[in-house]
Amino acid sequence: MLRLEKRPQPSRALSLSTPLIAVVVTMIAGGLLFAALGKNPFEAIRTIFWDPLFGEYAFYYRPQLLVKGAPLILIAIGLSLGFRAGIWNIGAEGQYIIGALCGAGAGLAFYPSDSVFLFPFMVIAGALGGWAWGMIPALLKVKFGTNEILVSLMLVYVADQLLAKMSLGLLKNPEGFGFPGSRNIADWESATSWIAADYGLHWGVAAAMIAVILAYILLNKHILGFNIRLSGEAPRAARFAGVNPTRLILFCLGTSGALAGLAGLFEVSGPSGQVNIDFAAGYGFTAIIVAFLGRLHPVGILLAGLLMALTYIGGDIAESQLQLPAAAIQVFQGMLLFFLLALDLLTNYRVKFAIQGAA
C-alpha cells in the first residue's frame, strides 16, 4: 500500500529535477503517440529535439529558437508573477493581440515616417495596450470580486474579433489590393523590431532577457517580490503582514498584460510582419506551460521557453519531413504539463510503502 506523507519542506533537489524528468517522460509518451500515428518514434523525437540544434540545417533553425522563444519567455515571465501570488491571468493571448494592434496602429498612423522616435513610440503603445487589456480583469476583480480567470479568458475571444475587424478595416493596407492585413511593418526601416534578422535577433529577444533579469531581482531582492511570494505561499500570513491584495492584483495583472502586449508588438513588427487575421498563434496559452515548466522561476522560464520554442520548430520540421500532424505537437505540449503537475507530488510529499491497515 502506498502512502503519502507531507514533507515539512518541499524537496529542493526534486523541485529542480522534476521538470527534467517530466520532459523525459513526455518524450517516451510522445514517442508512443508518434508510433501510434505510424511514425518511427526515434526518428520523430530526433527530428524534433536534435535536428533543429545540431542537424544539417541547424544554421537556419537556431536563430528561429530566439524568434519563437522570445515571446514565450516574455509572456511567461509576466504570468509567473501572478501565478506565484495565486492571481490567474490566462488571457495573455488577448493582451498579446491588443498589444500588437495598439503598437502597430500607433506606428501605422505615422506611415511612412522615418523618425527615430517612431519605434519607441510603438513599443510604449504596445505595452500600454496590453496593460490596459490586463487591467480590465484586474479592476473588475478589485472592484467587484469578479473571477479574473474567466474575465481574462473571455477577453481573448473579444480580442480575436477585434483583430479580425482591424485587419479587415481600420488597419487594412490601402495598397493591398483588397486583401486582408495591414501594411508590412517588418520591411519598414524605422518601425521594424528586427535588429539582425539573419541571427533571429529582434528587440523582443532583448526585452525577454531584460524581463528575466528584472523579474529575478524583483522576486529575490525587492519587497514587492517578497509580498508576491508570501501571498501565494501563505495568504493568511500575508494578510497579517499587511500586504495590500488590491495593489498586488493590479500590479501582477497589469505587468503581465504589459509584457504580453510587448511580445505582441515585437512579433507584429518583426517575425510576423503585419496585422492579420491569423496573427494570434497561441503563444499566450503555450506561455502558461512555459511558466509552470520553468517552476515560475525567471531562469527556469528562460530555459523552458527555449525548450518549448524547440518543440515548435522541431514540430514544423517533423510536419514537413515526416508528415507528423501539427496537432501532435500540441498534444505533446499538453502532455508535458500533465506529467509535470503529476510529478510535483514528489516535491511536496514523500511516498511511503506501508502495510495495509497500519495507516
Binding site: 503519502l4 507531507k6 475571444y157 479580425a164 502558461i288 498534444v331 504539463l337
Partner: protein, 306 residues
C-alpha cells in the same frame, strides 16, 4: 436591414438548441463544484466529446452511439484531472488548464480525417398532433432527444442534490471536506465520481455541438462555450434551475446576434460576434457581489493527513 425576417417562434426554438450544450456542460460542472472541485478543463472535455461523438457517429452511422461515446470520452479525460488533483494533489487551476490545452490538441489530432464530413442526423421528436401545433409545436414538441435529456438532467440533478442522501453527502464534501472525512465519508471517491459525471456531461454537450447544433467538425469549434459554462455556474449561484435560466439567456443572446448578423444590421459582424463574451463578463460582474452560494471548500485540495 430587415428585422421582420426574424421569426420569434423559430428564434425561441433555436435558442433552446443553442442553450443545450451550455446547459449540459454547466450542470456537469455545477455538480463538480458542489463537491468542492474547480475543474477548468470543461472546454477541453467538450471539444474531445465533440470529436469523439462525431467520429463514432460517422463510423457507426448511429448518433446515439456517438453521444454515448462522447460521454465516455469526456469521463475518461476527466479521470486525468481527477488523478492529478485527487491523488497527485496538484493545483486545480493548473490541472484544469492542462486538461483544456491537452484536449484542444487531442481533438485536433483525432479530427483530422473528419473535416468536411457530414454526420448522420439525429431523429427529432415527432408527435403527430402536438408537433404540428402552431407556435407551441416547434418550441416544445419537435426537438432532438438530447435537448429533452438536458432538461430532464437539470431536474434530476436538482432533486438529487436536494432530496437524495448521495446529494447530501456530495454537498457535505463540498462545504467542508474535513468534517465529511471525519464523519467517515470517502472524500476522494465522492469527488472522483463527481468529476467523472462532469466530464460525461461536458462530453455530451460537445457532441451536441458537432452533431446537432452545427453539424460538422471544425478545429476548436467549441469556441469558448466550455468557459462560458464555467461562468454560468457562477451566474447560477450553484443552483440547477438558475443554470437552466442562464443557459437560455446566453443561448438567446447568441441566437439573437446570429439573427442580427443575418438580417444585416448596421453593427459590424465582429462586434456582434463578441457580444456573448462581453455579456458573460457583465453577468459575472453583476453576480460576483454575492458569493454566498459558493461551496466553502471550492478549489481546496484534500489530503487526509492535513
Amino acid at each position: 436591414m430587415d428585422l421582420s425576417a426574424i421569426n420569434p417562434v423559430l428564434l425561441i426554438a433555436s435558442l433552446m438548441v443553442a442553450a443545450t450544450p451550455l446547459l449540459l456542460a454547466a450542470i456537469g460542472e455545477l455538480v463538480v463544484e458542489r463537491a468542492g472541485v474547480l475543474n477548468l478543463g470543461v472546454e477541453g472535455m467538450m471539444i474531445v466529446g465533440a470529436i469523439a461523438g462525431f467520429a463514432i457517429s460517422v463510423e457507426t452511422t448511429s448518433p446515439f452511439l456517438g453521444v454515448i461515446a462522447a460521454a465516455l470520452c469526456g469521463a475518461l479525460l476527466s479521470l486525468l484531472f481527477a488523478f492529478l488533483t485527487q491523488f497527485a494533489l496538484a493545483n486545480q487551476v493548473a490541472s484544469g488548464l492542462a486538461l483544456t490545452l491537452f484536449g484542444l490538441g487531442l481533438s485536433a489530432l483525432m479530427g483530422q480525417s473528419y473535416v468536411g464530413v457530414r454526420p448522420p442526423a439525429m431523429a427529432r421528436l415527432d408527435i403527430p398532433v402536438l408537433s404540428d401545433l402552431p407556435v407551441v409545436g416547434p418550441i416544445l414538441f419537435s426537438h432532438d432527444p438530447i435537448l429533452y435529456f438536458g432538461l430532464g438532467l437539470t431536474a434530476a440533478v436538482w432533486a438529487w442534490l436536494k432530496y437524495a442522501r448521495g446529494g447530501l453527502v456530495l454537498r457535505a464534501v463540498g462545504e467542508n471536506h474535513d468534517a465529511a472525512h471525519a464523519l467517515g465519508y470517502n472524500v476522494v471517491r465522492v469527488r472522483v465520481l463527481a468529476i467523472m459525471f462532469g466530464g460525461a456531461c461536458a462530453g455530451i454537450g460537445g457532441a451536441y455541438i458537432s452533431l446537432i447544433r452545427v453539424p460538422q467538425w471544425t478545429e476548436g469549434m467549441t469556441a469558448g462555450i466550455g468557459w462560458i459554462a464555467l461562468a454560468l455556474v457562477v451566474f447560477a449561484s450553484w443552483k440547477p434551475w438558475r443554470a437552466l435560466l442562464g443557459a437560455y439567456l446566453f443561448g438567446g443572446i447568441n441566437v439573437l446576434q446570429l439573427n442580427l448578423q443575418a438580417a444585416g444590421v448596421a453593427i459590424p459582424v465582429e462586434y456582434l460576434a463578441m457580444s456573448p463574451y462581453l455579456i458573460t463578463i457583465l453577468v459575472l460582474v453583476i453576480m460576483s457581489a454575492d458569493k454566498s452560494g459558493a461551496p466553502a471548500s471550492l478549489g481546496r485540495a484534500f489530503h487526509a493527513s492535513h
